[in-house]
C-alpha cells in the first residue's frame, strides 16, 4: 500500500512514468478506497501505460481486457469450451450409450444424461477470460479495462455489476468471489459518453496533454540519448503545433516517435527541411500536414 501521494509519484518515476501530482493523488486514493479509476483523455497521453506502471509499482500482475465493438460477457468473463465439450461427447459416445442402455423412453434417456451435466460443466471445460481471471486470481492484480468506450453500453452495465461486488455467478458452478479486490483501471478515449452508473462508481481522472515541463521529462526519460537542446526544441515545437487546432493534434506518443526518429537521423537541431521530412511522425492527416507546413515558420521561430 502506498504511504503517501509523494510515494506514488516516486515509485511511478522509478517505473519510468512521469506522474502529475493529480494523477498520483487519484492513484493513492484508488488504492486506499479500493475504487476503480476511470481515466479519460485523448489517445497517446499515457492512459494504458499508467495501468501497466501501476502494476509494476505495486508488484501486482497485470490483467488486461481490451474492449472492442461487439465485446460481450462471454468474451470478457468466461466461455465454455464448446468444441472440447463436443469432442468429449463424441469420444464418450459409447459410454453415453451404455448409460442410457436400460432406459425405455426418450424423456427417461434425456433425464439420465441431464444427471451427468456436472461432468461437462466443470472448471475443466471453462475457459476464464480477463474478468474471471482477475476475480479468481490467487495473487493481487491490476485489472486494466482498456478503451471501454469502444464496447457497447450494455457491456458497461454488465461491467458495473462486476465492479460493484467482484463476484460472478456461473449458473452451472455457483458463485465465485474475489479473494483480493483487484485494483481496476478503466480507460476511455471519449468516443462516446459513458454511463452515469459507471462514472459514479469510479474515481475520475482526466489526463490531457502534459505541460511542457512534464513532456520534456518524459522525452528525457524515454529517449535518453537525445541532446538536451533538441529535446527542448521538440517540446516547444510540439506545443506550438498543438495550438494550431488540428483535426488530430500530436500526442505524447507522437512526440516520442518524433524525438526518436530525430535521434536516429542524428539531428542536433530542428532545421526546416528535416522537420518537413519527419513531420508525418507527428501529424497523420493530410489536411493537418498542410496546416503545419504552412505555419512552419511560426512553429520553429527562435528554436535554434
Amino acid at each position: 500500500m502506498f504511504q503517501s501521494v509523494e510515494e506514488v509519484q516516486q515509485r511511478f518515476r522509478q517505473a519510468r512514468y512521469i506522474a502529475s501530482r493529480r494523477l498520483s493523488t487519484v492513484v493513492y486514493l484508488a488504492e486506499r478506497m479500493a475504487r476503480p479509476v476511470l481515466i479519460e483523455g485523448p489517445a497517446g497521453v499515457g492512459k494504458t501505460e499508467m495501468a501497466k506502471v501501476l502494476a509494476e509499482a505495486t508488484r501486482r500482475r497485470l490483467i488486461r481486457l481490451q474492449c472492442y465493438e461487439g465485446l460481450d460477457e462471454g468474451k470478457a468473463l468466461y466461455e465454455w469450451k464448446y468444441a472440447k465439450q463436443l469432442l468429449y461427447t463424441q469420444l464418450l459416445k459409447e459410454r453415453i450409450g451404455e448409460l442410457i442402455e436400460d432406459t425405455h423412453s426418450l424423456p427417461e434417456a434425456v433425464a439420465k444424461i441431464a444427471g451427468q451435466d456436472d461432468a461437462f460443466f466443470s472448471f475443466r471445460f471453462l475457459s476464464p477470460r480477463p474478468l474471471l481471471q482477475a476475480i479468481q486470481a490467487d495473487d493481487e492484480v491490476v485489472l486494466l479495462v482498456d478503451e471501454i468506450d469502444k464496447a457497447e453500453p450494455e457491456f458497461e452495465a454488465f461491467l458495473l455489476e462486476v465492479l460493484s461486488d467482484f463476484q460472478v455467478s456461473v449458473p452451472e458452478l455457483g458463485t465465485i468471489t474475489a479473494k483480493h479486490i483487484p485494483l481496476v483501471v478503466l480507460t476511455s478515449n471519449n468516443a462516446r459518453e459513458l454511463s452515469d452508473g459507471l462514472k459514479r462508481r469510479c474515481l475520475h481522472l482526466f489526463i490531457d496533454f502534459p505541460p511542457p515541463k512534464d513532456e520534456l521529462e518524459i522525452i528525457r526519460l524515454k529517449v535518453p540519448e537525445i541532446p538536451e537542446r533538441l529535446a527542448q526544441a521538440v517540446v516547444t515545437a510540439v506545443h506550438r503545433i498543438r495550438a494550431l487546432e488540428l483535426r488530430k493534434p500530436p500526442s505524447v506518443s507522437e512526440s516520442l516517435d518524433w524525438a526518436r526518429s530525430l535521434v536516429i537521423l542524428n539531428a542536433q537541431q530542428l532545421d526546416p527541411t528535416l522537420v518537413e521530412a519527419t513531420l508525418t511522425m507527428l501529424v497523420k492527416y493530410e489536411k493537418d500536414l498542410e496546416r503545419v507546413k504552412g505555419a512552419l515558420d511560426k512553429v520553429l521561430a527562435d528554436l535554434n
Partner: protein
C-alpha cells in the same frame, strides 16, 4: 470540515452538476484520506470523486475557490491569519487557569485556543439566524457582519479577559509582559472579527455565483433564439453539444441493438458439415438496416441565423448516425455546404455556412426560389431513405411561394420536417407562407428556443427514425 464539503456539494448541485449521495460520501472519505495539509491534493480528492464530466471542471474550480480559498489559513497557515500566536503566552494562560480554577465563557476559550476551523464553525452557527438569505448586495456586508458580530457575547469575553489580566498583574508580572499579553489577546479578537467579515463576503460571492449559474442555464434555454447575444450564443454552444451527444448515444445504441443478429441456422448447418454434422461453430445473421439519410435546408438570413446555427451544430454532431448527410443553406440563392462540413471543424464549418457560402446574405429571403432551384438540381438524388429537414420562418417577403416545389420533393423522400423559429401565432400572418408549405410536410414544429429545439430533435430521433423507415 465535512459540513463545509457538504455545503460545497450543495452548491455544485445547484449549478446543475449531478452528484449522487454515494459520490458525496466518497468525497468525504477521500478528503479524510488526504487531509487538508495540501490544498491541491485536497482539491483533487474532491474533484476525482465528484466531477465526472470534463465540462463541469471549470464550475468546480470556481466554486472550490469560493469555498476553500482560505484553506491554508484554516489549516497550517493559521498563524498568519490569526496574527502572532505566541505559544509561551498560551502556556502561561493555561497554567494560570488551571491553578486558579477559573471558569471562562466558551467563546473566550475559543478565542484563546480555538483553531481557524472551529472559529469558522462558530461564525457559521452565529450566522444561521441573522437572515443571511437576504444578503444580495455588496453594501449589505457591513450590516450582516455586525449582525453576526452581535450574536456573540463580547462583554463576557471582555470580562474574562480583564479578569485574566488582573490575575496576572496580581502575580507580579512586569508591565512589559502584561502589555504583550494584552496585545496578543487584542490581535486574536481582531482576527476573529475579520473572520466574520470574510465569512459574509464569501457568502455573498457564493450567492452571486448561484444566481449567475441559474440565470444562464434556465433563462437562456427559454430565451428566443434571435435575441441571444454573441456571448450567450457561445454559452449555448456547450449546451447544444451536450444535447447532441446524448441524442447520438441513444441513437447509436438503438441502431446497434437493431442490428444484433439471430442464429442463422442455414449457415450453421452448412458449416457443421466440416465437423461431421456437429454444429461446432455457430453462425449469426447480421441484420443490415441501412442508416437513414438526411438533407438539411437552412434559412441563413439574419432573422433566423441563430436557430440555423444551433440546428447545424446538432446535425453536424449527429452525422455518424446517418449514412449520408447533405446540408444546404439559402437566403434566396441556395448552396450546398456539405463539403465545408466534411473538412472544417464544427465551429468553423458553421461560421462558414452562415457567412461565406456562395449565397447573397443581404438579399431578402425567398423560400419559393430556393425550393425551385433545389428541385431543378437535386430532385434526382432524392430517395425514400432520405428525410429533409427544413429550418426557416417561411417569411417569403411576398415572393412567389412555389409550393409545387415542396410537393415534388415530398413525393420522392421519406418525409419533410419543418422547424420554424417563429412563434406559431405568427404563422400565416403578413408575409408568412407557412400554411402553404405545411400540408406537404410530415412534421411542422415551432422551434423558438434551445429548449424547444432540443425537444424537437429528441422527438425526431426517438420516433421519426424509429418507425423502421
Amino acid at each position: 470540515m465535512d459540513q463545509r464539503i457538504l455545503e460545497f456539494i450543495g452548491d455544485l448541485r445547484r449549478a446543475e452538476i449531478r452528484i449522487s449521495p454515494s459520490e458525496a460520501l466518497d468525497a468525504l472519505a477521500a478528503s479524510a484520506e488526504v487531509g487538508l495539509r495540501d490544498r491541491e491534493t485536497f482539491k483533487t480528492a474532491l474533484a476525482t470523486t465528484l466531477i465526472k464530466e470534463f465540462r463541469d471542471l471549470p464550475t468546480f474550480d470556481r466554486l472550490f475557490d469560493l469555498y476553500f480559498l482560505d484553506l491554508q489559513a484554516l489549516g497550517e497557515g493559521l498563524k498568519k491569519a490569526l496574527g502572532p500566536e505566541d505559544p509561551r503566552i498560551r502556556d502561561l494562560l493555561d497554567r494560570l487557569m488551571a491553578e486558579e480554577g477559573i471558569e471562562i465563557d466558551p467563546l473566550t476559550e475559543l478565542l484563546l485556543w480555538g483553531q481557524g476551523t472551529e472559529m469558522e464553525l462558530a461564525i457559521r452557527r452565529g450566522g444561521e439566524h441573522v437572515g443571511l438569505e437576504r444578503l444580495m448586495y455588496f453594501l449589505q456586508i457591513g450590516y450582516f457582519s455586525r449582525r453576526i458580530h452581535d450574536r456573540f457575547d463580547w462583554e463576557a469575553i471582555e470580562r474574562d479577559l480583564a479578569r485574566l489580566m488582573q490575575l496576572l498583574e496580581a502575580r507580579g508580572l512586569d508591565p512589559g509582559r502584561l502589555a504583550r499579553i494584552r496585545n496578543y489577546l487584542d490581535l486574536r479578537l481582531e482576527a476573529f472579527r475579520r473572520l466574520i467579515r470574510q465569512h459574509v463576503e464569501r457568502e455573498l460571492e457564493r450567492r452571486a455565483f448561484r444566481q449567475g449559474e441559474k440565470l444562464t442555464r434556465e433563462v437562456l434555454t427559454d430565451k428566443p433564439l434571435f435575441a441571444l447575444t454573441a456571448e450567450e450564443v457561445a454559452q449555448m454552444k456547450a449546451v447544444v453539444a451536450r444535447l447532441a451527444r446524448k441524442i447520438k448515444d441513444a441513437l447509436a445504441l438503438r441502431q446497434r441493438q437493431e442490428e444484433k443478429g439471430r442464429l442463422d441456422s442455414r449457415r450453421t448447418v452448412r458449416k457443421s458439415l466440416q465437423y461431421g454434422g456437429i454444429p461446432m461453430e455457430l453462425r449469426f445473421r447480421r441484420r443490415h438496416r441501412d442508416k437513414p439519410k438526411l438533407i438539411t435546408i437552412c434559412d441563413v438570413s439574419d432573422s433566423v441565423r441563430n436557430a440555423s446555427r444551433f440546428m447545424l451544430q446538432l446535425v453536424w454532431s449527429l452525422q455518424e448516425c446517418f449514412s449520408r448527410v447533405r446540408s444546404y443553406v439559402f437566403v434566396s440563392e441556395i448552396a450546398e455546404v456539405t463539403q465545408a462540413f466534411n473538412t472544417y471543424p464544427v465551429d468553423k464549418a458553421i461560421e462558414w455556412a452562415l457567412r461565406a457560402a456562395p449565397v447573397d446574405y443581404h438579399c431578402r429571403s425567398d423560400f419559393g426560389y430556393a425550393f425551385s432551384r433545389f428541385c431543378r438540381t437535386e430532385l434526382e438524388s432524392l430517395d425514400r431513405k432520405t428525410t429533409i429537414l427544413v429550418l426557416g420562418d417561411a417569411r417569403n417577403n411576398y415572393n412567389d411561394p412555389q409550393a409545387w416545389a415542396v410537393t415534388h420533393m415530398r413525393e420522392r423522400v421519406k418525409g419533410i420536417i419543418w422547424l420554424n423559429p417563429e412563434g406559431q401565432w405568427g404563422w400565416g400572418i403578413g408575409d408568412s407562407v407557412m400554411p402553404l408549405y405545411a400540408p406537404h410536410c410530415d412534421v411542422v414544429r415551432e422551434c423558438r428556443t434551445i429548449g424547444q429545439l432540443a425537444q424537437v430533435v429528441d422527438n425526431l430521433v426517438h420516433h421519426w427514425w424509429r418507425r423502421g423507415r
